[in-house]
């Protein structure tokens, strides 16, 4: 499948990762008689100050009895692209109904077993540090999410995505596409073999760098559990500087996106192992044990 990828058909983004033009307008002073000075380039220092202020306000709110937050803020201005893309009205509470209480079924018809190894998709070995990323997908009650689709995508070891809009002047790797899929096992387990992605520079502000990350896309047993997120690597020095990671203002919640180094997963003379479990939002249904064990969604035909 990755062999068929046609770079020219990507329609993802026409703008690259900076919405600088659209966003700067919001910060411009009112028109004045004198010619406006050239807009000042925003630095990491500027962004870090904004992030810090939001973090401190959250800490204060906690002291005042506000609930702990567990998800990113939709409205998090330090990620400039979010400014015009977050709903301003609060999400409307709805009880999930019928179709929303079920999830699309994926099976081994949909995903080939080899798609979980991102290092064998081309003729040669990709450059970089080979790693294993494995864990379990669970629901809010700790039950395994069996027979469901997990999709990942990532930059290569030098921090470059195979994407025509990625203009980062780091080398593409002809032996690495950076896309993988798998179907979770009966115990909710998934496992990928890949290359450790590099840090990635972007244009949110001057000298902005994303911590190394792998994008994950997950389905649960209900469509309401659908989630797309990013997995990070332990000890990354870029965490405090990154507006996307910091859009989750609670440290415990942020930590849930960081994999653990796991020497038991590491394979001798082959690859380092990282463990990361994913918990989907809980369901309100009454389950029987049969369902909980994944009778549904696993396509043993």
């Amino acid at each position: 499948m990755p062999e068929d990828v046609n770079l020219e058909t990507y329609n993802a983004d026409a703008l690259t990762e900076d919405l600088a033009d659209a966003v700067t307008d919001l910060h411009k002073p009112a028109p004045q008689a004198a010619p406006a000075p050239a807009p000042r380039v925003e630095t990491q220092q500027d962004l870090s100050a904004e992030i810090k202020a939001l973090g401190e306000a959250y800490a204060e709110a906690l002291k005042g009895g506000a609930p702990k937050e567990t998800q990113p803020r939709l409205d998090f201005a330090p990620y400039r692209s979010s400014i015009l893309r977050h709903p301003t009205k609060s999400l409307h509470h709805a009880d999930p109904e019928t179709i929303e209480l079920h999830s699309p079924a994926f099976g081994h018809q949909d995903v080939h077993a080899l798609e979980s190894d991102l290092t064998i998709q081309h003729n040669g070995e990709p450059q970089g540090e080979r790693i294993i990323v494995a864990g379990r997908v669970l629901d809010g009650d700790g039950r395994p999410v069996a027979g469901q689709l997990v999709e990942i995508w990532q930059a290569n070891s030098s921090g470059r995505y195979i994407h025509k809009r990625d203009q980062h002047p780091a080398p593409l790797d002809p032996n690495f596409t950076g896309v993988g899929r798998c179907i979770t096992g009966p115990d909710g387990s998934y496992r990928f073999t890949t290359i450790k992605p590099g840090a990635y520079p972007w244009k949110n502000h001057l000298n902005a760098w994303r911590p190394a990350h792998i994008h994950f896309s997950l389905f649960g047993t209900e469509f309401t559990q659908r989630i797309v997120t990013q997995m990070y690597f332990p000890g990354d020095q870029l965490f405090p500087l990154d507006p996307i990671y910091q859009s989750i203002v609670d440290q415990d919640a942020r930590d849930r996106l960081v994999a653990s180094y796991d020497h038991d997963l590491t394979e001798p003379e082959w690859a380092l192992g990282y463990n990361w479990d994913i918990v989907l939002t809980g369901s309100k249904r009454t389950w029987t044990e049969n369902e909980a064990l994944g009778a549904e969604g696993d396509d043993h035909e």
């Binding site: 770079l7 990507y10 329609n11 993802a12 983004d13 026409a14 703008l15 990762e17 919405l19 659209a22 937050e69 567990t70 998800q71 990113p72 803020r73 990620y79 692209s81 979010s82 400014i83 015009l84 893309r85 977050h86 709903p87 009205k89 999400l91 409307h92 509470h93 709805a94 999930p96 019928t98 179709i99 929303e100 999830s103 699309p104 949909d110 009650d141 999709e151 995508w153 995505y161 994407h163 990625d166 950076g178 896309v179 994008h215 469509f223 989630i227 797309v228 997120t229 990013q230 990671y245 859009s247 942020r254 849930r256 989907l280 809980g282 009454t286 029987t288 044990e289 049969n290 549904e296």
Partner: protein
């Protein structure tokens, strides 16, 4: 563990893993062949569902990706695999469409049926975009059957202006048009199923 049919004792409630933005570079990963064709275009009963995704300035967003999940035209919830590798005949109820440069998404699908007698028929939607911190859920209701729409628990809990954002327009050719406005005037109603009120809390 052997399946026994007894009720599972809930030991502890785990906290959900946070979401993160889909980012700008999903284009080589999430789209797949026939991803937006729940039915083969032109086949009996097929229709075009399309619309534009707008930001708070009223500009189309060129880097959003939508998923739909719906019952068949009889209101049956389908449990067939084959959404990623379509055989051209099996309706699986799931589709995915990245928008193009003009912010337009397109699906070929069929009218969903009501999943309960007299219920309003709708399509469930998940929205992802660069700059959108977490996925958003919403619904696309069919415009017909006023009575069912009036009785729908979600729609009847919304004021008329907001309610309109969830109801598709029927096109002359039988297709459906439904736009998404992430922010501002006519902002689409997005749903919180958890009921905690804390997801994506505004400041």
């Amino acid at each position: 563990m052997k399946p026994s049919g007894r009720k599972v004792t809930i030991m502890s409630k785990l906290t959900a893993t946070p979401g993160q933005t889909v980012g700008p570079f999903y284009g080589y990963a999430l789209p797949y062949e026939k991803d937006r064709e729940l039915l083969a275009p032109g086949s009996p009963g097929s229709l075009r569902l399309q619309g534009t995704v707008y930001d708070g300035a009223g500009h189309p967003i060129p880097d959003a990706i939508l998923e739909i999940w719906q019952p068949d035209s009889e209101g049956n919830i389908v449990r067939r695999t084959g959404s990623l590798v379509r055989d051209g005949y099996t309706f699986t109820g799931f589709g995915r469409s990245a928008v193009g440069n003009s912010g337009v998404y397109t699906f070929t699908t069929l009218n969903p049926g009501p999943t309960k007698p007299g219920a309003a028929a709708f399509i469930s939607v998940a929205v992802f975009a660069r700059g959108l911190m977490n996925r958003l859920f919403t619904r696309i209701y069919l415009p017909e059957n006023e009575e069912a729409l009036a009785a729908d628990p979600l729609l009847s809990s919304l004021d008329p202006e907001r309610r309109k954002t969830l109801i598709a327009r029927r096109d002359a050719d039988g297709g459906l048009t439904w736009d998404i406005r992430l922010q501002g005037e006519g902002e689409t109603v997005f749903l919180d199923f958890e009921g905690t009120g804390t997801e994506g809390a505004a400041q």
